[in-house]
């Protein structure tokens, strides 16, 4: 049985590397990423699971890192926006101007990347369902939709 009782070091696989982080059992993954590992791509917004600014991938699935304990990530693979290397969805966000202030962008990109990896042929309905988990207060929704559609449907566009 795995147990973690007091503040101490945990080892998490982040962006392909095993990293050690000094956390309490009650600390969130968002806190560990930003304050212990220096990965500030995941943004603190509502810290209540509403805004999606802190979204990362855990074993490929989008997760709001404000609502996951850091210790829960032990034994799993975490990917933050720093772990993406100019992938198509990042290029698409630039090409489509899919942001204004940019604060929500890493969360949106991670959610989009999860969808692209898991359902590369997602329907518009599925895409909207997934995107509703993130909020953009600058209301760049139209451009974000265009960006993800350009990646999801890139195969068809090339054919």
């Amino acid at each position: 049985m795995y147990q973690f009782l007091n503040e101490g070091l945990i080892e998490i696989k982040v962006n392909g590397e095993l990293r050690k982080a000094l956390v309490r059992p009650a600390d969130t993954l968002l806190f560990a990423l930003r304050e212990r590992l220096g990965l500030t791509g995941a943004k603190p917004g509502c810290e209540n699971g509403d805004c999606g600014a802190c979204t990362v991938l855990v074993d490929g699935w989008p997760i709001k890192s404000c609502l996951m304990l850091a210790v829960e990530a032990v034994g799993h693979e975490v990917t933050t926006v720093e772990g993406l290397d100019n992938v198509p969805i990042q290029k698409a966000f630039v090409e489509k101007f899919a942001f204004q202030c940019g604060y929500c962008t890493p969360g949106f990109i991670m959610n989009c990347q999860g969808l692209i990896d898991i359902h590369p042929d997602a329907s518009d309905e599925t895409m909207h369902e997934w995107l509703q988990a993130n909020i953009c207060r600058c209301t760049s929704y139209q451009e974000i939709t265009e960006a993800i559609k350009s990646v999801l449907h890139s195969d068809q566009a090339q054919e």
Partner: protein, 276 residues
Amino acid sequence: MITCNFEYYRPTSIDQAVRLFQHLDQTGKKPIYYGGGTEIISMGRMDNISTGSVIDIKEIPECRLLEIRGSHLVIGAGITLTQIHESNNFPLLAQAGARVADHTMQNKITLGGNLCSTIVYREAVLPLLLTDAEIIVAGPRGTRALPINQVFDQCMNLDKGEFIVQVKVQKPFLSYPYVHVKRTRQDKIHYPLVTICALRADKEIRAAFSNVCPFPFRSRAMEKELNRSSEPVGRRVDKAINLAPAGLPNDLESSSAYRRFVLKNLLTSIVTELEG
């Protein structure tokens, strides 16, 4: 940030989890079982929850099952709402789960967590009430199978130290005609104004509700009125609504009069659809 400190345990068997709970309880650690943890973390951040230890049940193999076994669909308590939706073994539950919070949250919220939530909506319970699901619970008295209509009365009523291991649904229920509808005040992602799950089993309509009363419920008295096919649908629906087990809430989401208006329209279309 969660200000209180607690210990984290991740047992790998039912027996380990139960014994751990008893031990931690005896040593004053006020243990709580931990599924997806979304509610525990958000309440912890607001200092609305205080515990000395959490027992994460997601690594217990029985809690991770999602498969047809013999005559039942077995869903482990640690299975997420997304996993249920993606598998689509039980379309009504898949749809109900797909309207809880938002999609990313559904990647974390577990079935067991939603059923035991302290937030009143608990919409994943509605399909289980309609299908007479069996709840497998484990605790100091061992592992027990309980009919959901016995263990769920306004909320999940488990003994101290017990947790939900699995939910079992008889296979025939998985393919009955059904309707799931959730109405919110404005946006799609919101708490429900009214949520209704209904299905037709053996020519009878069954219906379960969330946020029609201050707790989720299925009412046999309401169903009896809804199935009185000799009367016009509108009259049946009116009579059924009058039999709701508590008054319709009058809250920020809506007045009770508006909620009744929405409920009546939805029920009328549901009965019409399911009666074909």
